[in-house]
């Protein structure tokens, strides 16, 4: 698969069809694969791909609006591209999509931290992640460390592509069991968990910056007039920040999970975004990023929208 990606990239850059190829390269140490912008044929040799490549590459697209770009795209990446097109941020014909059917990405940070010691090498064998530390060889189940969105992903295959690398995979079958699980808890338990999660936030905004949909130049969190979110670390400010961000994501979030995967404090965010995605799908039959022609969720309405909560 990696060889195929390089071959395509080499050809695209060599023939001058694109200026850059957005892909992944090996990170520092095992269990990390990071975004990489290949600009020359030589640099193509660095390109690689594995389930440890967590960042959704669509985040970088608006930066390259003046270039022809090839992008490695999973299902969620293509959905993000669709949303970005529908919101007028990028143009489809400037983007060459190298589609990658995806088996899900691994919660690399969480896994690394759970190991707690130096990791020398990592490989994936027969549905298991084999982790070599100086002391021992640990095996953990691939499924257990899957990003929660990937676990229930309905769109693992790129929705569109200019070239596809590998065979399409079978969707894991959607659903939102994690959200339903949370809903079963009683009100106070839910609030306690929510508050505990949010108070971990250090306001580094890695979630916002890594999100393909957070392209706003001026974020509401930085606004001083009016001051939606006050400076400092009051719980209510952290909570409001994440709640409102999730609201801004309604109908736009493509459930790639990047925000949660990159958070240095491991703040759980997907239980919020996925809750909204579930509501939209269940009650409005709306799934984000399937169609670049469709207006944004909050930009349209139906006369028979749910209204029974209104007195």
């Amino acid at each position: 698969m990696v060889e195929k990606i390089r071959e395509i990239a080499r050809k695209l850059l060599g023939e001058g069809k694109v200026d850059v190829v957005l892909g992944y390269e090996k990170g520092t140490g095992p269990l990390s694969e990071r975004p990489f912008v290949a600009r020359t044929v030589e640099e193509v040799e660095k390109l690689t791909y594995s389930p440890f490549a967590i960042q959704n590459l669509a985040t970088y697209l608006p930066r390259f609006n003046n270039n022809k770009v090839a992008i490695l795209a999973r299902g969620c990446t293509t959905r993000a591209i669709n949303v970005l097109i529908s919101e007028g941020q990028i143009e489809r014909d400037k983007i060459y999509v190298i589609g990658i059917p995806c088996n899900g990405v691994i919660k690399t940070r969480e896994l690394r931290e759970s190991i707690g010691e130096e990791i020398e090498d990592v490989s994936i064998q027969n549905g298991e992640i084999v982790i070599k530390t100086p002391k021992e060889e640990k095996k953990v189940k691939f499924e257990d460390w899957l990003n929660i969105s990937c676990k229930y992903c309905e769109y693992p295959n790129p929705l569109f592509y200019d070239v596809l690398v590998g065979e399409e995979v079978k969707p894991r079958g959607g659903g939102y069991p994690d959200v339903e699980e949370y809903e079963k808890l009683d009100e106070d338990e839910r609030w306690e968990i929510f508050e505990a999660e949010m108070s971990k936030c250090v306001r580094c905004y890695a979630c916002r910056q890594s999100c393909p949909m957070c392209y706003c130049e001026h974020c509401f969190v930085d606004s001083t007039e009016p001051r939606w979110i006050e400076p400092g670390f009051d719980k209510t400010d952290l909570e409001s920040w994440h709640l409102i961000r999730v609201l801004h994501m309604a109908g736009r979030c493509v459930d790639c999970g990047t925000c949660e995967l990159v958070c240095p404090e491991g703040v759980k965010l997907l239980f919020l975004t996925r809750k909204v995605a579930r509501d939209l799908k269940r009650d409005f039959d709306y799934v984000s990023g399937l169609n670049p022609e469709k207006p944004p969720f909050f930009g349209e309405f139906r006369y028979d929208d749910k209204g029974d909560f209104i007195l």
Binding site: S210, P231, V262
Partner: protein, 335 residues
Amino acid sequence: MKRVPLSELERIYEALKNYGNVWVRKKNAYETAETPEELLSTVSKVKKPAKFILLPEEEPLLAFVQDGKNVTFQETIREAKGVIFGIPPCEAKAISLLDLNFLQGEGEDVYYKKRRENILLFGLACLAPDSRCFCTTFGYGPFTESFTDIFGVVVDDMLLFEGITEKGKDLVKNLDVEDAKGEELKKLEAMKKEITERVKKLDIQGIQEKLARMMDSEIWDRISSSCLGCGACTYYCPTCYCFDIQDVERPNWGYRLRTWDSCMFTLYTLEGSGHNPRPELKYRWRNRLMHKFNYYPVLYQEFGCVGCGRCIEVCPVNIDIREILMEVKNEPIRA
């Protein structure tokens, strides 16, 4: 050198406790120890550095009351007294770098000073440098004692330690502990050599001068191309200190709050007029790297980095400052 068996740490714990709060290493942050056993923490790199104690992520500077057209205010200096137990040399050095900014020059930062003066650094040698550590690059190592007040090493089941500064010596003097034995000291020396060598040293000779000539290099484009522009690297960095001051308003009162800021944010330099002297990520990256490896040396003859590797670990896209330094080193300078 003094010695105390790890099983009898309560002998020094009481003395530390008498001095003030005792912070110990926990996985995520330095926390107050409730029992002497907690001194035994084996965490080798605390995620949130000790900077969080000296320069907390938020801190009210003033509180004010408004009464019609009148205003009165009060300074709200939050003091702290205690011992940071087990702080590794890299973080202790980082604090010495923070001191350069906050305690030197015409305007001493009283808020920082009030805490710094009363916090004792009980350093411990770092026995488990990981693959992201590169402290030896900066002329010190996992066994360097000079940035701490008291410095110790755990050798087998024994804690060997000694006072370094006057303050540290005073505290050690009054402890009921015996002198370290010859063979323990010998073992310590062997450990020091072995562990120090384990840390991968970078050759950054001449980087300061090189950077000075690279202002207009295209390398900044390349370096910043995968950067997302979040503030994780700077927030977890033990030497980054940039802060913001904002007011919080309530009906008829309010407070002035100092919070961390990051040079990687657009807003950091955005002016009221809308003009931004560092409009793109590449300029912000240039400033961050220059600050640590050129401006800091120009101002204080010290690099603004201690090689702890935290930024490498917390970066969402795993940008590795070591690779960048090497890239800078190897980049040809165009005429």
